[in-house]
Symmetry: C2
Subunit: 346 residues, 2 copies
DNA sequence: TTGTAGGCGTTATCAG
DNA sequence: CTGATAACGCCTACAA
């Protein structure tokens, strides 16, 4: 690879002049600038960023540390959000994957330190509390989809509660009054938040919360299937179900279809996550809440960049990003009320 | 951050001795080594890899350039495979995302060059032919899930044909003789390969290929649904369907269920991709072929490392990695043959 | 507007 | 076994 000196020699100037041209210093005669540019082009010169970093202490690299990138389809969105924003500022992302192992996490931070990264994005693949690896705070740090118990670090998570609220409100606005929720265990912040939103919406519409309409279990299709089945066996079947995940919703789909209920004519369904693969291609396509993974990734990098530019913009605290409603075809008005009927399989 | 000289001073030795200790040179007295190690520890010394790189020309970084990481759930597996293998060798991955834009691809390569990466992994999110960005060949390069028309570059793709063969063979071994295939357009190497395998298996079992059993369209649930519907309308309904993707298979699921066919009692189904989210949690869980994304990522990095160690191991050519069969519950023997029945909805 | 000296933190070479 | 000196490619400070 050609160096700055090679270019200087070919252009017949000192290497410092080349340096000025490369760095867009205004103090170079235009004629000379052209000459240098031509020489650089001819030699296919590329500045060596490692060398530059040694002088400037700016590596133009962030570390992206995640717990488990492979098992969830969301990782890509966070990464892309982060990557795109970084690319705009000519920054790059160095990938680390810890598998959730604290020892590996420490090694990652160590490695990031050795490479002089200018900041760290620490991302988890589901919304949860984390313990920071040692030394993590020696660098500018932003948390994505997670938080520390003391929230002493800057971070971003989805606004679960508002999401649950919006999902439930949609159903209420359509006229539903008997709305079930199939939730996951409330030990998950996502489940707890979405449930809060559900409650709040009911309250706002003065619909009493009926505990037997709220069912709790796992995040998966099976859970949705079983709970939906139970819901369908009730004396008075709900006219709508808010599911805490798209997977739960699709499990519910299976149960409803099996029992001969039509979606959305008989029962409306709302999911959560907007997993393209599932939600957009279900029959009927699923109305759901999107989690702003892309935006969280992008937001994190933005914070890092701003903190780098403005020393005092470092700060702490948790930011919540809105979950947009994705309207598809699984929600409609409730069926017109008939004479109370004895429950039977149609 | 402490430097090698700080450590030397604290330990009361020359900085070169510290360097020796850091680099595990055997030519240091043990007593001095301990002293240096203690000093390094006390100062929390970390070698500056940029500085090291300047001397050694070894950045210990590979570039991972992908076209579109966010829209497919597979990206994470490739990345993790690559990342893990790299991590074993103390190498890191620098992420680039091109969005498929050739101009951006060039910028990525340029950027990779500036940062002195030791190799490039160029990955696409579905199996296809690519044109290499300019200058890409100035670096050791490995293609993942794609290939160049002239296959002058080293690369790795799934063995689609063998996968299609194994899927079909499973069905044949179970006793099926009337096996439909719902495929995607054969312009996709994946579709073409899987179809080849289907043909080969039939041939091997001396089952004549019936063109009306082979249906072609897109990769999605809708396609599977429509084609399955058409298949069910045939005079003689197939006893098994090999679907070129899990999404197609799940669309077929919907159609079969709607028409009252049971899986696998009436009709067996095999998919392709092993998308955990879809296949493992379908009702019934879907038997399918796994695409070795993780292995491809890992393989790519391994090649790069070996090429770095052995100049002459660079070479070209396409490697095909096996697609393992994932047995779940959607395949069984064909139903016992009855009197030919008039086709009717059950 | 241009050029020279010095140093960023390492490792390589070669004496001692 | 240990240490002085040079070099990697670039940028900063200062001088011309």
């Amino acid at each position: 690879m050609a160096t700055i000196k090679d270019v200087a020699e070919l252009a017949g100037v000192s290497f410092k002049t080349v340096s000025r041209v490369i760095n867009r210093s205004p103090h170079v005669r235009d004629e000379i600038r052209q000459k240098v540019l031509r020489a650089a082009d001819a030699l296919e010169y590329r500045p060596n960023l490692h060398a530059r970093h040694m002088r400037t202490q700016r590596s133009k690299v962030f570390a992206f540390i995640s717990d488990d990138i492979a098992t969830t389809p969301f990782a890509g969105q966070i990464i892309q959000g982060a990557q795109l924003k970084a690319w705009q500022r000519e920054m790059l992302l160095l990938m680390f994957n810890t598998g959730g192992d604290p020892a590996v996490e420490e090694d990652c931070v160590k490695s990031a330190l050795e490479r002089g990264v200018e900041g760290v994005i620490f991302a988890t693949m589901y919304h949860r509390a984390v313990k920071l690896p040692k030394d993590a705070l020696r660098l500018p740090l932003v948390l994505v989809d997670c938080f520390t118990r003391d929230s002493a670090v800057k971070g971003v998570v989805p606004d679960e509660s508002n999401g649950g609220f919006a999902a439930t409100r949609l159903l209420l606005e359509k006229g539903h009054r008997r709305i079930a929720m199939i939730n996951a265990d409330k030990k998950y912040p996502a489940a707890a938040g979405r449930y809060q939103g559900y409650q709040k919406a009911l309250r706002q519409f003065r619909v009493p919360l009926e505990p037997e309409l709220v069912r709790t279990g796992g995040w998966w299709q099976d859970d949705g299937y079983e709970h939906a089945l139970a819901l369908l066996k009730m004396q008075q079947v709900p006219t709508a179900i808010f599911c805490a995940s798209d997977r739960i919703a699709l499990g519910a789909y299976d149960a409803l279809k099996e029992k001969g209920f039509r979606i959305p004519e008989d029962i409306s369904i709302v999911g959560f996550d907007n997993q393209e693969l599932l939600a957009a291609h279900a029959r009927p396509p699923l109305t759901t809440m999107q989690i702003p993974y892309f935006e969280m990734g992008s937001w994190a990098v933005k914070q890092l960049i701003e903190a780098n530019e403005d020393e005092d913009k470092t700060g702490a605290g948790l930011t919540k990003l809105e979950c947009p409603l994705i309207v598809r075809a699984s929600v409609d008005s409730p069926p017109i009320k008939r004479e109370p009927q004895s429950k039977k399989k149609r």
